[in-house]
């Protein structure tokens, strides 16, 4: 373990998994949405549902949706700040099958009208995993700039996407491929060393067979 993972992170208490990780899930969901969220329906599963209020998990998720980092001292006031920022939200609980005990489901609508469903798990020490985007399995930690491409499960898409990234001098750090059972989609999750520019996303959206492009820039 890295030295500053043993000492650190600096975070708003009380729990690295239930508070710091929850802020990161909210923040990552906001970045994936790509615009300011106006509406958020939050559902907590497992330990998040059972002890979430005591750990401030609900406030932490909302704080992340407002763009706060895990060490932001305003996390306890996030509900109030959300109202001021025009973010409508609700928090409920849900039981998901086979999900990590610290899981949250976020249904978001942004100011540009786009909506997005993100399922995120807090897997310990403040680290997270984004498990689903719009119902399709993913699995990434949101530690890198990430490009998520949903495409038809037909040949040629990987080459098209990696070609486009290399044209823009973006280096791929890791790449995962999934095949969704639902709808014959395939999903590519590419973690990149550089931020993913809007042109790349626009270009990819034009390509035949590509259903959806989502990006996370840190």
């Amino acid at each position: 373990m890295r030295l500053f993972d043993v000492l650190g992170p600096v975070m708003t208490g009380p729990s690295s998994s239930h508070t710091a990780g929850a802020v990161r899930i909210g923040l990552t969901a906001r970045r994936l949405l790509g615009s300011r969220p106006l509406n958020a329906e939050i559902q907590l599963h497992g330990s998040f549902a059972a002890t979430g209020r005591g750990h401030g998990t609900d406030k932490a998720l909302v704080a992340g949706l407002l763009g706060m980092q895990p060490d932001d001292p305003r996390i306890p006031q996030s509900f109030e700040l959300a109202r001021q920022a025009g973010l409508q939200f609700s928090v409920g609980s849900v039981t998901l099958r086979g999900a990590h005990p610290n899981t949250a489901v976020l249904h978001l609508t942004g100011e540009d009208g786009r909506s997005l469903e993100v399922v995120g798990a807090s897997i310990g020490g403040g680290r997270i995993s984004i498990c689903q985007i719009d119902g399709i399995t993913t699995n990434f930690g949101a530690d890198y700039n990430t490009l998520i491409v949903h495409n038809l499960d037909t040949p040629g898409h990987v080459a098209a996407v990696t070609g486009c990234l290399s044209d823009h001098a973006i280096n791929i750090a890791t790449m995962q491929l999934y095949r969704s059972t639902a709808g014959g989609y395939a999903v590519m999750v590419l973690e990149c060393d550089q931020p993913i520019p809007d042109e790349v996303i626009a270009e990819l959206r034009q390509k035949p067979g590509i259903v959806k492009v989502t990006s996370l820039n840190l």
Binding site: M1, R2, L3, F4, D5, V6, L7, G8, P9, V10, M11, T12, G13, P14, S15, S16, T19, A20, S47, A50, T51, G52, R53, G54, H55, G56, K59, D71, P73, I75, P76, G124, G125, G126
Partner: protein, 292 residues
């Protein structure tokens, strides 16, 4: 690469004639690619946050559950009133451990050291010495590197997560890291740091993780007090030339083995131990009722 054994760490000191913090800092620089200046600046930032957390403590703060807060102020009042058995350093250590751990429960900013639940131990033993002028910021930061280096070995050989190893892995590790830091601050040898670390960890071996209602409050906050006081006593034993006889690496391995043998109910699930007592369950009901 960070060290995976205390023995290797001590050998590196001996072989290169370098102090412990230097050996630890260099191994991290090689791994992280950070510059020395950036790494030292980051440690100073962490120390500044530890100082700030203590300064921001308010006696009136309460946690979401309502069960945590106000105890550090009671401790300070009792110390001022002359009713405590502990001398001034120890009573300050206890008050500081409560302060930081209560701040954590009350959603204030802390440094996970090594975890949020055990965040009060290291600042508790260091702050009173720093305030009294016994050591300056540079010495504290060197001691924090020493603490972190030992923590890295625990992470490599065992775990720093209560959910995996019980509280011996959180407050136990924090306490052992703090004991090593104290010996370093007092000018003890690298060997003495390792002895203090080993004795502190030995004395909290077997501690289970049984948070009432699953919250980082009860027993966590007061466990930070025992973690800090245990660190002071282990450091003092080591400075007196007392040794623990079981080497640090073997103690860590024992902690790993004991952690693996612990029932899941006693590893942060909020089911067994204190969490399962009639009162613990009643508190859980109260806390979850407030939720609906």
């Amino acid at each position: 690469m960070s060290y995976t054994s205390v023995r290797e760490m001590l050998n590196a000191c001996k072989a290169n004639g370098k102090p412990l913090y230097e050996v630890i800092l260099e191994s991290d620089l090689a791994e992280s690619g950070l510059s020395r200046a950036a790494s030292e600046a980051e440690m100073r930032r962490l120390w500044a946050v530890m100082c700030q957390t203590s300064a921001d403590y308010r006696a009136c703060d309460r946690s979401m559950s309502g069960f945590a807060g106000g105890d550090a102020a009671k401790m300070e009042a009792a110390a001022a009133g002359g009713v405590l058995l502990s001398g001034s350093y120890l009573s300050e250590v206890m008050a500081e451990a409560l302060k930081t751990a209560e701040c954590n429960a009350c959603m204030k900013r802390i440094v996970a050291a090594p975890t949020a639940g055990s965040c009060g131990v290291l600042p508790a033993v260091l702050l009173p010495l720093y305030r009294a002028g016994v050591c300056d910021e540079d010495a504290v930061c060197r001691a924090l590197f020493v603490a972190a280096g030992f923590g890295q070995v625990v992470a490599a050989r065992a775990t720093l997560a209560g959910a995996e190893g019980g509280c011996q892995a959180e407050v136990g590790a924090a306490s052992a890291m703090a004991a090593a830091a104290l010996v370093d601050l007092r000018g003890g040898t690298a060997e003495a740091c390792a002895e203090a670390f080993a004795m502190a960890l030995t004395n909290l071996e077997g501690l289970v993780c049984d948070p009432v209602a699953g919250l980082v409050e009860l027993p966590c906050i007061k466990r930070n007090v025992i973690g800090a006081v245990n660190a002071v006593s282990a450091a003092d034993m080591a400075m007196a030339g007392i040794v623990g006889h079981i080497p640090a690496d073997e103690v860590i391995d024992a902690v790993a083995e004991v952690g693996a043998a612990m029932s899941k109910d006693l590893r942060e699930t909020g089911i067994g131990g204190l969490a399962g007592t009639p009162t613990g369950q009643k508190i859980r009901e109260i806390v979850t009722m407030g939720q609906q």
